[in-house]
Assembly symmetry: D2
Homo-oligomer: 396 residues x 4
Amino acid sequence: MHKIALLGAGFIGRFYAMSLLKYRGRDEVKIVCDSLPGQAEKFADEFGIPRWTEEMEKAVRDPEVDTVIIGIPNHLHKKAALLAAQAGKAVLCTKPLGLNGPEALEMLAAVEKAGVFHGYLEDLVYTPKTLKALAATQKGALGKVLWARSRETHGGPHSDWFWNKELSGGGAIVDMGCHCIEIARDFIGKGIRPAEVTCWADTQVHPIEAEDHAVGLVRYENGALGQFEVSWTFRGGMDLRDEVSGTEGTIWLNHWLRTGFEMFTGVGQGGYVAEKAEGDTGWLFPVGDEDGSLGYVEMFLDMFNTMDKGIQPMETFYDGYVVNCVIDASYKAARTKKWEPVEIEEWRGEKVIAEQSGLKDYDAAHFLVKEERMPDGMLKVILKDKQTGKISQKFQ
Amino acid sequence: MHKIALLGAGFIGRFYAMSLLKYRGRDEVKIVCDSLPGQAEKFADEFGIPRWTEEMEKAVRDPEVDTVIIGIPNHLHKKAALLAAQAGKAVLCTKPLGLNGPEALEMLAAVEKAGVFHGYLEDLVYTPKTLKALAATQKGALGKVLWARSRETHGGPHSDWFWNKELSGGGAIVDMGCHCIEIARDFIGKGIRPAEVTCWADTQVHPIEAEDHAVGLVRYENGALGQFEVSWTFRGGMDLRDEVSGTEGTIWLNHWLRTGFEMFTGVGQGGYVAEKAEGDTGWLFPVGDEDGSLGYVEMFLDMFNTMDKGIQPMETFYDGYVVNCVIDASYKAARTKKWEPVEIEEWRGEKVIAEQSGLKDYDAAHFLVKEERMPDGMLKVILKDKQTGKISQKFQ
Amino acid sequence: MHKIALLGAGFIGRFYAMSLLKYRGRDEVKIVCDSLPGQAEKFADEFGIPRWTEEMEKAVRDPEVDTVIIGIPNHLHKKAALLAAQAGKAVLCTKPLGLNGPEALEMLAAVEKAGVFHGYLEDLVYTPKTLKALAATQKGALGKVLWARSRETHGGPHSDWFWNKELSGGGAIVDMGCHCIEIARDFIGKGIRPAEVTCWADTQVHPIEAEDHAVGLVRYENGALGQFEVSWTFRGGMDLRDEVSGTEGTIWLNHWLRTGFEMFTGVGQGGYVAEKAEGDTGWLFPVGDEDGSLGYVEMFLDMFNTMDKGIQPMETFYDGYVVNCVIDASYKAARTKKWEPVEIEEWRGEKVIAEQSGLKDYDAAHFLVKEERMPDGMLKVILKDKQTGKISQKFQ
Amino acid sequence: MHKIALLGAGFIGRFYAMSLLKYRGRDEVKIVCDSLPGQAEKFADEFGIPRWTEEMEKAVRDPEVDTVIIGIPNHLHKKAALLAAQAGKAVLCTKPLGLNGPEALEMLAAVEKAGVFHGYLEDLVYTPKTLKALAATQKGALGKVLWARSRETHGGPHSDWFWNKELSGGGAIVDMGCHCIEIARDFIGKGIRPAEVTCWADTQVHPIEAEDHAVGLVRYENGALGQFEVSWTFRGGMDLRDEVSGTEGTIWLNHWLRTGFEMFTGVGQGGYVAEKAEGDTGWLFPVGDEDGSLGYVEMFLDMFNTMDKGIQPMETFYDGYVVNCVIDASYKAARTKKWEPVEIEEWRGEKVIAEQSGLKDYDAAHFLVKEERMPDGMLKVILKDKQTGKISQKFQ
């Protein structure tokens, strides 16, 4: 049973509070903090939180509190995390961890030096679909993962500070690319080093400095490719999908716009449909359990369950640091127009990637290139001669 | 915070325990009971439940317990509910409430006479999708509901007693029809009386006495139609879908086989895919959050939250009784090959159904029959003369 | 190469002309007829048809013409078919064949007596999806077909005469039920006699005499169930779906609203989206090849190819007659509130339906009721003792 | 009415013949040619083609023939096209046009110099879905196109020569990238110059020299991004999807694996399911009209209809040349690990791309950054001060 200080009473704070308080749970938010006058008080009132403040230090140092949840703008993450580490409290930080790799590294060093529990609140790897898909992948259902595409696009974030590069650290890449990068990394394997990145980023629509649309390709040391697609220019709601291809299988996840709930209404229903929905008449695609589908519920379960067990959660500050490094390389590649290496100061994963041979024997003299059932029902095999390299085909 | 006696350590008991215990919740299962030797002990051990027994009375009368959850075969529901009422405990009963209407009425009378909290564990109206769809419907998104189809089909239930008519009260209708009937009733409106039923039921495949496939049509007093489709003969997994049509809109819910998680695997993953899945290679459609998607989580939240507030839950024994009455009429109609009235001894809903006119004026002299955009882009209207009744069309 | 007289220059005539003329084909429409002044001339002009007339006789007796296509309101089908038979021309008639069974029987007798080629233009059994699904079913992919649901619902037909019971023969059942009945019959098997029907029909929304919404259940002699769902009250476009369940498999066809083309537009595109679409902004679901997807293209290919080969097409006047008989029984059942027999004067299919046993041996002493993989990975089998009938379970 | 020489009696030749001959059409294949002994004869026999040969020259110079269709391996395209141009015949060439840009340019020069009709058989831009989506896009339904992803992946091509770089010109990029590049180009606008490319390409699985998996990003001069994803390593069938995002809308096309035909079978159907399907039991996703869905039918209609009208088809050798140039840049970029310019010798599209401003006024002093409906039902707007650039938010 934990006592929580929640920093931030905005959009993400609301999702956190709903996820934490909904399930008749044992853990309690004891104090909420927001620097915007009146915001914290109103939030405390709504969610039945006993105390509120406008001062971050006060919340972090609240004597009853053992855990600090950081749900404030990106440029304040470091300050908050350092305060929490200093106070010896467990600290859970919203994505992205830092504004960039060096900042994230400083945060990692601080929590590790202080010896406090640290969790990286990467909610989208915690959706029930993603967890189940990861489990299947780890059990071998896909064979070796070759490619992982993760996509998050919508019409842009909710709060003004996101649109200001100084406060957020960037545009769509830093806002949503962090999710997509970590999702792909989870499927490919956390022990596999992300090696280099090429990236397209542009400001196509909005009157802002940062990119509102980007696509990046991340090559991992074992030859797998992670692909992130992020946009604040998307029309039609929020597109939240992952696709994973392996030597033995494929996974497609759709987290938002096509989840088995379809509604047509000619009159609307007077209000909110789903996060980032556009319009409230015509064909709509609401999501049944929004908090759960975004991973918030399972994320906090993992955080508090591992905290109780004295082990690390699935996502730590180290993971947040790696993600920041990939983001840094993405921005650099978008500028230099070249593949850029991912600079990770302290790589804790696998050091040597074993070469893997994909060669399948057909018989002693041939490799199998492929086999396929043809429209006339026959089975065609394509072979490569092991000696000559010559490719041939035959029907069976 | 409640202390629970769980009766039944089988398939449904497992889903209940997982839903109750997963979310770091305040409510606790204090004793589990199962008459099958060894079953309760093993279950208690697995879920960390302090006490177990093979005797129902002992579990119900456990002094620490304030709530009894009935998760045992249908023919034992009445006995358990009466015991719990007698002991003054809150009682939550798995669907169907009784083996038939009279039995359900007896159970209802018992809990009401004892003045205890009573909840009908109709999980499928509690899925997050269904709750949201019901809320949209109640806010008017569909206009007046005209038709509601609810379908549950799979390859048959898990335990032997389901297949024995004496123990279960029937076949697929009593097993799954109860879900479908109540879902349709929730969309059409709980205040609207189900008037009469026609039903087809047959034993198409299995070596059993009861029906393994049935379709029923339930006419409500306001003219709406509920349609249930249940089968133990379905191939391809578990098909769990609802469709609702109203004057202003449409809702389609797919709870299981198409929820946005699609996986192809050539090798399988060595184990369980999802409830009632067939096979573990090829294209598979796992469900992210099975417990949540089946409604168990929200169902218990509603039960305990309303218990704490001293109000009735969304589904009470009265609802279970109405469902049993519709099932009874369905079995009778399947035998008599006629529409049969639904006999509800004590109707607590709306007594008089206001006639509703669907007539829309086009102008002073005409009703509008329909309007439609044609392939050439023109708008065609079809009109009915208010005086002569003559139907005509024109382009606009 | 055929010379065609097309009777009817309305909505269906347009679909026919587009299907016949699109593919650089050899068959030609030589004359078009429509009694509405100006309509035929305009149509002839648009499609490059050399002659037009307002008189049916003139078109049918056109000396160059060898084939008459009937695309006029239902109450004129008989007159046109009899004229064509008299003139010794091949005759292809739009659904439904007659206003009712006796009328259809008269038409059937006329074409058979005259010895002319006769085709029943039941386009929806000719969609490429349906043809392929039927082929798979006939090859055994579903085992024995147990249940076939066919659904067609939308906001109501295009022309005024449909809404007038005297001209159309009824409401949604006669308009669309004919499709659904024949589709189910094709999957269950044309040789299997439709035995009896129960039916709900109501006028829920429109100011008309005929039903605008109906659901019917058709029991076939071999125990299979056909289910038709038709409505002129549906919101959201045109819902055109079939579902078929068999002992070994399942087929789901979606012909219209979910075919893999999804479009969101905030601004619309100034015009037609797809047949019976509602609105032109928001999420839209256009159909790529409308004519093909509705079966018109394959239908005419089959008609003219079989005509050239001197054999019967897939759908003849006899099929149209059987469908009319099922419709008649449906209307009667809706009135009498009982299952009503399907009265077919001359049954040409299988006379004796062999009893089929669905019993599967588990071992010498037991039938297998079912087997299922459980969440813990074990395989559970449920058995029935051949001697005692006792049902039991065990894990393997 | 045209007389055709078909070069190639392999997999693609079969699709062509089926598309050309199915619809009782006027155009006729008069001679078929294949260098593999016996292949042409067998093919001619199957499709009722009067003449066959093993010598390309003989087929091209057949005096009755006015049109040559090239359906042979890539390295023979140039020779065949030059022969046809020399003979003054119309020439239709399978994708890719040449092995590379210079070869394609030579072919383009030859047909233009000879003044013959030339069509580039890029079937996938001719699918009914794509044609309708392009029409909607051109009518403005998406606003300005910002991004177009086109994806074709499967388990690898049917014939041995595809796997041999010398004969095919490359791997998955040259085989399928040509489709994806042209589809994106069609959505973005054929007049917009493709400017530069970054590309990842690898041989992940097969024992071949060429790439079996690649992803490329093509930046167009107006700022739009085309994205191609091609793979011979995909598991689960053939994944053929396009996604297009614009300032006002979104289009998603699924051409193969999810088109509204879903089948589960426990027993299979003894044969072919659909092109590149894997396995024939479990959940399968057949395609109703394969030839039509791959665009072959509409492609040949356009070719012969435009030929008859004396105008250019939608896809000409010039388009094939541009695609080859993009492919060349992709291969170069994959090697140099930099964005590489697309070298088009003779650009015939728009020379100057007008800058487009995406700025929307909110009021005199502010640009609108975004507006969104929040969960509490309020409308939030985010604004940018035109003078100061400051970003702020308010609720309405």
